[in-house]
Assembly symmetry: C2
Homo-oligomer: 84 residues x 2
């Protein structure tokens, strides 16, 4: 079993209205030292051994479903082989 | 300037319907080796030096706005002092 952490972030060139809203909320709580906020997704997957290369498998899942490669970047970490 | 990465995840005991939906979608794409998916948020903040302790500041922002401590856990990394 693998534990995989996937981080999906908007590409630099894409506007992040959710991040802008959170920045505004932080400012209104008087945290004016916050200069930028960008929000992404963080996913934890537990994947069973299937004979396929785990790297290739995760990359495929990211490209097909977990991230939108047009506007998002992703990176992942394959954490460890968890005991069954 | 600090670059801070904040990871917000649902507590283990809290159901994650979004994760369940993504798992279902992965299964329907025939990635049946995926046994569990949990979805969280990932935030990147750029914070200016303000004389306050950066750790304390980030913890306060997480408790007040970025995470809901009743159902979510958070952790953060203070990455580096970015050149102005």
């Amino acid at each position: 079993m693998y534990k995989v952490k996937v981080y999906v972030t908007l590409r630099e060139s894409v506007l992040d209205p959710q991040g802008t809203a959170v920045k505004g909320a932080l400012h209104s709580l008087s945290y004016t030292e916050v200069k930028d906020v960008r929000i992404g997704k963080f996913m934890e997957l537990v994947i069973e051994e299937s004979g396929r290369d785990i790297n290739e498998l995760v990359r495929e899942m990211c490209e097909k479903l977990l991230a939108n490669p047009v506007i998002e970047d992703y990176r992942y970490e394959i954490e460890e082989a968890v005991a069954r």
